[in-house]
């Protein structure tokens, strides 16, 4: 009995010590907040790590979120839209035939390593990219392939003088300017690229407001103010730390405890919790995304169109949105969101109809169904904060038509790698638009040119390819829109995906954070962010 008492006492002591520990910690931070002059370090918590810090080597949003602050592009987007604004190029002219673009560059800009930014640096970067291949620079496919490819849009990039650079195109490309403003095409320091070679992805040097300090994989990336930044008075912060906290709830707890100042991937179910906390605020990112379930169409049985259509009819998107998006998303029927020009609203969504789905499976030759692997992202993505849960709902409705889906997952970098190699039966993924053009959804995600980069479903349709290329070349926007509408009809019928949702991603921040304006593309410069 005395032994039990002793243990009881010890455990009470242990618990109370733990509680006291918590108490002093909160006191500590509260005290330092009062005495500190002004906070100038931002800790940005997110679900996954960047896969590289050389933006051209990847197509993945967690990379751009960081590199957007290190590198700058020739052109930039509006604060919360995808209109074109000057960036490293202060002005530009286009020849009447749409084949020659001439850019006047900003003067007196230096890279963070002291190298001068000029026309030669721009030429150097484009030469580097266009001579690569889809393994090295996947996103360069935005310009129709690589230098050796017939479809390559850019004939040459030349330095007219130190501050003028000229692009000559083989064929006109309607979204050309919008493409140039995309994060992957951030101009890198030629000196640093030559110095580091393939290691440049770990030692990025650009002209941006913040310079790279340190990257501890899967933990944090530290950036520091670039003191010689060419835009005077910016950035307002001294330091930015991107921290990786995979679990959505743990991330929110870290925010509530004051360990981090800003987080993305807020669960919709946690919105109320954040709103009820007087120290926190909810920030909405304007929606320009699609979350989807893709089939690798080269694998059996997903090479059969009827199977894909059947599975399209076995997903109850409305319930998913109600349950795991807090109602803050719209069901998707096309691979691009309705906010983008050229969206085809006339496409009839596949109904949620299990009987019809079963019939289609019988027709396809699978009366007894089949077993498949369904891969779900391990991390919160803006288009899908809770992929595992969504997968579980889909698993259940698939089981009703005799399709047994085993939910699987693997870490984020491996996930993307395996998906790109076509090793999954079916997988959840999504896309946040980079430039607000239909081309950046349909061509980037589903054209046969993009197989190996972002066309993870290995879907290839020549008719679609012709339409998409035609739409790229066409300069009349109405005609382009018509072409994209046709494209969506073809994609809908072939059903390489189950388009799931267009979500409104939520972020949460401490109340005293100001100047943070989330961009629909998913990455933004943090130069105007500060603490009150």
């Amino acid at each position: 009995m005395t032994k039990t008492l002793k243990w009881l006492l010890i455990s009470i002591l242990a618990v109370s010590m733990f509680l006291v520990g918590c108490g002093s910690k909160t006191n500590g931070t509260a005290g330092s907040k009062k005495t500190a002059p002004k906070k100038d370090t931002l800790v940005f918590a997110r679900g996954g790590d960047s896969t590289s810090l050389d933006p051209i080597t990847t197509t993945e949003g967690e990379t751009f979120k960081v590199t957007q602050n290190i590198f700058e592009t020739l052109l930039t987007y509006g604060k919360q839209d995808t209109t074109i604004h000057p960036g490293l190029a202060k002005s530009w002219t286009v020849s009447p035939d749409g084949l020659t673009y001439t850019f006047k560059l900003q003067q007196g800009v230096k890279f963070q390593d002291g190298t001068d930014f000029n026309a030669d640096a721009v030429v150097f970067n484009f030469d580097r990219w266009m001579n690569g291949d889809s393994d090295k620079f996947p996103y360069y496919t935005m310009f129709g392939g690589y230098k050796k490819d017939a479809g390559h849009v850019i004939k040459e990039v030349k330095a007219v003088d130190a501050n003028t650079v000229q692009f000559v195109l083989k064929r006109s490309q309607a979204p050309f300017l919008k493409n140039l403003a995309m994060s992957p095409f951030g101009i890198a320091s030629p000196t640093a690229v030559q110095k580091w070679g393939d290691k440049f992805r770990e030692h990025p040097v650009g002209t941006g407001p913040f310079k790279f300090v340190e990257w501890k994989q899967n933990d944090h990336i530290t950036l520091e103010k670039n003191p010689d930044y060419w835009q005077k008075g910016l950035p307002k912060l001294n330091k930015v730390i991107f921290r990786v906290i995979p679990d959505n709830t743990a991330r929110l707890n870290a925010l509530a405890n004051g360990e981090v100042d800003l987080m993305d991937g807020l669960n919709n179910s946690d919105e109320a919790t954040v709103k009820s906390n007087s120290n926190l605020q909810v920030i909405e990112r304007p929606s320009m995304n699609v979350g989807y379930l893709a089939f690798t169409v080269t694998r059996k049985p997903f090479d059969n169109k009827l199977v894909r259509q059947a599975l399209n009819m076995a997903v109850d998107k409305k319930s998913i949105i109600q349950s795991f998006y807090g109602g803050q998303a719209i069901p998707a029927k096309n691979p691009m969101p309705p906010s983008i020009e050229g969206y085809n609203d006339a496409v009839q969504e596949y109904p949620y109809d299990l009987d019809k789905a079963k019939q289609l499976l019988v027709q396809a030759g699978y009366p007894k169904g089949f077993t498949m692997d369904l891969w779900a992202m391990p991390v919160a993505r803006p288009y899908m904060p809770e992929a595992q849960k969504v997968a579980e709902v889909i698993q259940e409705s698939f089981s009703k038509i005799g399709v047994k889906a085993n939910i699987k997952t693997v870490d984020w970098a491996t996930y993307l790698d395996k998906a790109a190699k076509g090793q999954f039966d079916a997988f959840m993924l999504g896309w946040t638009g980079d430039n607000g053009d239909a081309d950046n959804f349909l061509y980037t995600l589903l054209d046969k040119d993009s197989i190996g980069s972002n066309n993870y479903s290995y879907y290839s349709n020549d008719q679609l390819h012709n339409i998409l290329i035609q739409a790229q070349t066409e300069s009349d926007q109405t005609k382009r829109n018509d072409l994209y509408k046709q494209a969506q009809v073809i994609i809908h019928d072939d059903a390489p995906w189950i388009p799931l949702v267009h979500s409104t991603p939520l972020l949460a921040a401490t109340k005293d954070l100001t100047g943070y304006v989330p961009h629909p593309t998913g990455s933004e410069v943090l130069s105007n962010v500060e603490f009150k």
Binding site: S269, D270, Q322
Partner: protein, 299 residues
């Protein structure tokens, strides 16, 4: 003559019945005197019943989703409330008993069989064989058990079956060592020497004489190990390395609902209680068995 034979039989059989109660009966009697052990047994039997009757008793299907009714608090319709998919938690707890007991029982069975064989071999033969087997056990015991289990699952791939195998592997050295030490002492007994002296084969000595006389601590240890195995399965499930969705494994249920700790505490409470109760049951029962079967502690 016939009468005589009948009398003789009576004379012979009488003392056996009266004086020598069979050992299991004696054990059962002293087990019954231990109230905590009985409670433990009761809990275990209760969960075994639940496991068998789950399909007949459960009001819903364990993977049946009603997204309109998600995270409903306990009510007359859903006794334990619903989870974030609108699945009935009561139903899932019932089915979960099957999984936990299944994993607990079979993983321990596996480690008992392998551990006993290895233990007997190394204890009986000694020498180099003993040295090798014992060192392997030492190496395995040097790892924290959960870490070792995670490593095994990482090699085999996450699934319930592999979690079971992992737990079995992790527990082998415990049984191996126990049996080995017991065999070492039993080996010195006179009846073993006698058996050897009359030229009995090794296998016969091992399995007819040494094994039955070394097994009682194994039974105790096994009962306690089931409790640990259930916890380990739950831990692996919690880490996403054990049961895969939509399997209603208790640890997995905890992991899936940890985000709703504040909004829907019942989604965590009931699986947590279920794990606690079964483990408590096996532990109480194991303690009781130890008192009864372990001669060292026998009063």
């Amino acid at each position: 003559m016939a009468e005589l034979a009948k009398n003789m039989m009576e004379i012979e059989s009488k003392p056996v019945e009266e004086k020598l109660t069979p050992p299991w009966k004696e054990a059962w009697k002293s087990f019954c005197k231990n109230r905590l052990a009985l409670i433990g047994l009761g809990i275990v039997i209760f969960f075994i019943l639940i496991a068998f009757l789950a399909p007949y008793v459960a009001p819903f299907g364990y993977k049946e989703q009603h997204l309109a009714d998600r995270m409903m608090p306990p009510s007359s319709k859903h006794w334990f409330g619903t989870d974030d998919f609108g699945r009935d938690i009561f139903t899932r707890i019932l089915y979960g008993a099957r999984i936990s007991l299944w994993v607990g029982f079979f993983s321990v069975l596996g480690s008992v069989v392998i551990g006993t064989i290895l233990g007997i071999i190394s204890g009986y033969y000694g020498g180099l064989v003993d040295a090798i087997i014992s060192r392997i056990f030492d190496i395995m015991l040097a790892f924290p058990s959960t870490l070792l289990a995670i490593a095994v699952v990482a090699i085999l791939g996450p699934s319930l079956q592999n979690a079971l195998i992992a737990i079995a592997v992790v527990n082998v050295p415990n049984f191996g060592r126990l049996v080995r030490s017991k065999v070492l002492s039993v080996k010195q007994e006179e009846y073993i020497m006698a058996a050897r002296a009359v030229g009995m084969r090794d296998t016969r000595i091992l399995f007819y004489h040494i094994l039955p006389n070394s097994i009682s601590p194994v039974i105790v240890q096994a009962t306690l190990a089931i409790a640990t195995a259930i916890i380990e399965a739950a831990a692996l499930g919690f880490l996403g390395l054990g049961a895969q969705p939509p399997t209603p494994e208790w640890g997995k249920m905890l992991a899936d609902s940890k985000e709703y700790l504040v909004q829907a505490p019942w989604t965590l409470f009931f699986p947590g209680i279920a794990i606690m109760l079964t483990v408590l049951g096996f532990n109480l029962m194991g303690d009781g068995l130890q008192d009864v079967l372990d001669p060292k502690l026998k009063q």
